[in-house]
C-alpha cells in the first residue's frame, strides 16, 4: 500500500525508503493501545473489502484492483480537515494527534512522513541540504530545488 501512495518515479518509492519499518516503530513504541488497535483493524478491513470485491486479500490482488481499493479509501476521507483536535484547549505544544483520525488518514500520514524524513526522501527526492552555507530569501527555482 505504501508503494502505491509514494511509488518509485525518477526517485525510489516508499518501499525502498523502508517506510514499513518506520510504521512498525510508530505502532510499537509510539501509538497508544487504542490507536494501534484501530490501525490494525483498519488494515484488516482493507483485506475484508478486497475479498468482498475481488475475492482475494490485498497483497494478492492486481495493481488495478489495489488502486481501486486505495481510491475508495482516499475518497472516504475529508482531507481538508485535519485529524481531530487534542482535547487540551490552552495547550500550545505538540499534540501527538497524528493517529487520532480515521484509519486511512493515519496510514497516509505515516507513509508520507516516513518517506519524506527517510534518507532517500530527504537526500534524493527533496535534495535537502543540512548545511546550506548561505541564505537567499528569494532564490530562483530553476536549479530543481524542491520543497
Amino acid at each position: 500500500m505504501i508503494d502505491l501512495i509514494i511509488p518509485m518515479t525518477d526517485t525510489p518509492g516508499a518501499k525502498a525508503a523502508r517506510v514499513n519499518e518506520f510504521m512498525d516503530v510508530i505502532l510499537t513504541d509510539w501509538a497508544t493501545d487504542a490507536e494501534r488497535t484501530r490501525f490494525l483493524k483498519g488494515l484488516d478491513d482493507v483485506d475484508t473489502q478486497c475479498h468482498a470485491l475481488f475475492g482475494k486479500n490485498f497483497v494478492g490482488a492486481s495493481t488495478p484492483q489495489q488502486t481501486a481499493i486505495l481510491q475508495a479509501l482516499d475518497d472516504s476521507v475529508d482531507w481538508r480537515q485535519g485529524p481531530p483536535a487534542d482535547p487540551a484547549p490552552s495547550f500550545s505544544g505538540r499534540r501527538f494527534n497524528q493517529l487520532r483520525g480515521e484509519f486511512f488518514r493515519s496510514f497516509k500520514l505515516m507513509t508520507i512522513h516516513g518517506y519524506y524524513t527517510s534518507e532517500i526522501g530527504q537526500t534524493q527526492e527533496l535534495k535537502r541540504e543540512i548545511i546550506p552555507g548561505a541564505f537567499d530569501g528569494c532564490a530562483p527555482m530553476a536549479s530543481g530545488k524542491k520543497a
Binding site: 488502486t67 482516499d74 500550545s92 501527538f96 497524528q98 488518514r105 519524506y116 527533496l126 548561505a134 541564505f135
Partner: protein, 560 residues
C-alpha cells in the same frame, strides 16, 4: 574547593550568569560559577546536524517519555525529540499554582541554561518603556533611563554580535549591527505595502544574536536553521558559544556543575552575604561556598526562589526583602494573537537556506499618543515560507502525480504573532511552598498570576490589527487567531525582585545591588520593574555587564 574563598560566586550559567562570569573574571576576580545542572560538551551534546532519519521517531517525538517527564515543558515547541534534553525534568522540578491561574514555567537546567534554546531576538528598550510606570502612576519608577543603559547595550551587542537593520525609530533604538539577514520575496512585498499604506508602522528584519559574518573569532551562520539544537560553529550567542569561553581564557573561572543552590548565607552583623549553601545535584551532599561578592543569575524565578528560601529571623519573608516586594510584581509577555495568509506571486522563487530569524513589526500602539482602551503596546514577530511536503496530510490523492505535487512548493505563506506587554501588579506573585519539595528537598514555588483587563484588551487589538495588516499586504485565505497564552508561556518571565530607588518599595537599587545586602547583586529577569513588549534577554545582558562594572569598582574602593 569548599575551603577556597572566591572573589565572586555566580549562581547560574545562562544568559546573565555567563556574562557575569566573563565580566568578573576579565576584571581580575577569581570566580566560581555554581550551575545546578550538568556540563554540556558541544561535540557530544549538540544535535543541530543530526539528520532526521537518524532519530527514532523522525521528530514525532518520544511521546510516552515526553508526556511522563516533561508534561509542562513540552508546551515549548523546542522541547522536542532533538532539544528536549535542554529542558528540565518536570518530575524533579515540580511547582504549583493557585487554582484557575495556571502558569507555564519553562526552564533549562544545564550549563548554558536557556541561552542554548532561546529565540535570539534582541531589541533595545527606549525611554518610552523606562518612563511608563512613572507617567501612568503604575508600580514604581525605574531607577534608570535609556542614557544609563545605552553604553551597555553597545558593549554587550558588540561582544555578542547582533545582526539587524537600522531604522531610526525612537522607540526601538538602533544598535551597531552586523549586516541584516535577507527578507524573503513576500516579506519585501509586505514591507513595501506597509510603506505605501501606513505612516505609523514598518516591517524590518529581525534583530538577532546570530552572526552574519565572522565576529571575534566565531564563524558566521551557515543557515542550518536549528540553533536550539546547539551550534558547533558558535554562530549565535549563548553562554557556551560566547561568554563562558571568554571567561575560561582568563584562567580565573571555575565551574561547578550539579550544584543546586539551596540558600544564601547572611551575616546579620556584617550585613553581607558570606556564602552559598549547595545541595550536590548527584550525591545530595550539603556543601557551602564562600565569597566576597555574590551574583544571583539563576533565572528570574529561581533567583527569587533562592532569596525566599534564605529567610532569616531578621528577614522572615525572604532575604533582602525588607520592602515586602520579593516574589511580587511577576510579569510575562502575552502571546496567542496573530494572523496568517497566502500571498500571491513569486511562484518561481524559493528561500534557499533555513533562516534562524524572522521579520519584526515594532510597536506602533500608544507611542505618540494614548490611542486605545489599554495602556502600553506590543510588537509582532513574523515569518514566511512556501508550503512543502507536509501539506500532503491534507491533500487528496496518491501515486506519481501526488508525489510530484508534494515536492513542488506550494503557495507562499506569511504570518505574524504578537508579543504584548504586561503591567506590573503586586497581586501577581510567587511564594514558597514548604510542603512541596523538589528532587533535592528544596521548597518549590506556588504561583498566583493572572492577566489583567489591560492584557486581555491588548490581546484583542493584536489580533484585529494583524488581520488588517495581512489584508493590507494583499493576503488571501487570512486566518486570524486570538487565544491568549498562559502566563509563562512566552518564556519572558520578569519581575519578583524589582529595581527601584526606594528600599521600602524595591529589592534592588539602580545597579542591581540588593538594598539590604551590599555584596549581593541580582541581574536576571527578576530585577525588572516593568516588562516592555520586546524580547528581554539583551536587556538582561546589558544590566548584568553594568552591574559587574559597578560591583568591581565598589570592590576596588573598599566599599564591598
Amino acid at each position: 574547593m569548599e575551603n577556597t574563598t572566591y572573589d565572586a560566586l555566580i549562581v547560574g550559567s545562562g544568559v546573565t550568569g555567563g556574562w557575569a562570569a566573563k565580566e568578573l573574571t576579565e576584571k581580575g576576580l577569581n570566580v566560581l560559577v555554581l550551575e545546578a545542572g550538568r556540563m554540556i560538551i558541544p561535540e557530544q551534546d549538540y544535535v543541530e546536524h543530526v539528520p532526521i532519519w537518524e532519530m527514532k521517531f523522525r521528530d514525532w517525538d518520544n511521546r510516552a517519555e515526553r508526556l511522563r517527564t516533561q508534561s509542562i515543558q513540552r508546551a515549548a515547541e523546542d522541547c522536542d525529540e532533538f532539544s528536549g534534553k535542554f529542558f528540565v525534568n518536570d518530575l524533579e522540578n515540580p511547582y504549583s499554582w493557585e487554582e484557575g491561574k495556571p502558569f507555564t514555567w519553562i526552564r533549562g537546567r544545564q550549563l548554558g541554561g536557556k541561552s542554548i534554546t532561546w529565540g535570539r531576538q534582541t531589541y533595545r528598550w527606549s525611554d518610552l518603556d523606562f518612563e511608563a510606570n512613572a507617567k501612568e502612576g503604575i508600580a514604581i519608577d525605574w531607577p534608570i533611563r535609556y542614557k544609563d543603559i545605552a553604553p551597555w547595550y553597545d558593549y554587550v551587542e558588540d561582544f555578542a554580535g547582533i545582526s539587524g537593520q537600522a531604522e531610526g525609530l525612537p522607540n526601538l533604538p538602533d544598535g551597531k549591527f552586523l549586516p541584516p539577514m535577507e527578507m524573503s520575496c513576500v516579506e519585501q512585498d509586505v514591507r513595501d505595502a506597509f510603506q505605501k499604506h501606513y505612516d505609523d508602522r514598518i516591517v524590518t528584519i529581525g534583530r538577532c544574536a546570530v552572526l552574519t559574518r565572522v565576529h571575534k573569532g566565531r564563524a558566521a551562520c551557515h543557515y542550518c536553521g536549528e540553533c536550539q539544537r546547539g551550534c558547533i560553529t558558535q554562530s549565535y550567542f549563548s553562554s557556551l558559544n560566547s561568554t563562558l569561553p571568554a571567561a575560561q581564557k582568563t584562567g580565573r573561572l571555575t565551574i561547578r556543575p550539579h550544584s543546586v543552590v539551596h540558600s544564601l548565607i547572611f551575616d546579620s552583623n556584617a550585613r553581607r552575604v558570606t556564602g552559598v549553601r549547595v545541595i550536590d545535584g548527584q550525591t545530595k551532599a550539603a556543601l557551602e561556598f564562600k565569597a566576597r561578592l555574590v551574583f544571583l543569575c539563576a533565572a528570574c524565578l529561581e533567583s527569587t526562589r533562592i532569596l525566599l528560601n534564605s529567610a532569616t529571623t531578621e528577614f522572615p519573608s525572604g532575604l533582602a526583602n525588607s520592602s515586602g516586594e520579593l516574589g511580587h510584581n511577576l510579569m510575562d509577555h502575552h502571546m496567542g494573537s496573530g494572523a496568517e495568509g497566502i500571498l500571491a506571486g513569486h511562484a518561481d522563487k524559493m528561500p534557499f537556506g533555513y533562516r534562524p530569524n524572522g521579520i519584526y513589526i515594532p510597536r506602533f500602539r500608544n507611542v505618540k499618543t494614548q490611542q486605545k482602551d489599554f495602556l502600553r503596546g506590543y510588537g509582532y514577530q513574523g515569518d514566511s515560507g512556501r508550503d512543502d511536503w507536509t501539506r500532503g496530510g491534507t491533500l487528496a490523492g496518491f501515486g506519481p502525480s501526488y508525489k510530484k505535487t508534494l515536492t513542488t512548493p506550494g503557495p507562499w505563506r506569511f504570518g505574524i504573532g504578537g508579543f504584548g506587554e504586561c503591567l506590573p501588579n503586586h497581586g501577581n506573585y510567587v511564594e514558597l511552598d514548604r510542603e512541596k519539595l523538589d528532587a533535592w528537598g528544596i521548597p518549590t514555588l506556588k504561583f498566583h498570576c493572572r492577566w489583567s483587563e489591560n492584557e486581555l484588551a491588548m490581546s484583542r487589538d493584536i489580533a484585529f490589527e494583524a488581520a488588517e495588516m495581512l489584508a493590507v499586504a494583499g493576503a488571501r485565505e487570512i486566518a486570524v487567531y486570538q487565544k491568549i497564552t498562559n502566563p509563562g508561556r512566552a518564556i519572558h518571565e520578569m519581575g519578583t525582585a524589582r529595581m527601584g530607588r526606594d528600599p521600602k518599595t524595591s529589592v534592588l537599587n539602580e545597579f542591581n545591588q540588593a538594598h539590604d545586602a551590599k555584596n549581593l547583586f541580582v541581574t536576571d529577569g527578576s530585577c525588572m520593574t516593568s516588562s516592555s513588549c520586546v524580547n528581554p534577554s539583551i536587556t538582561f545582558m546589558a544590566l548584568t555587564a553594568r552591574a559587574c562594572d559597578y560591583a568591581v569598582s565598589q570592590l576596588k574602593k573598599g566599599e564591598l
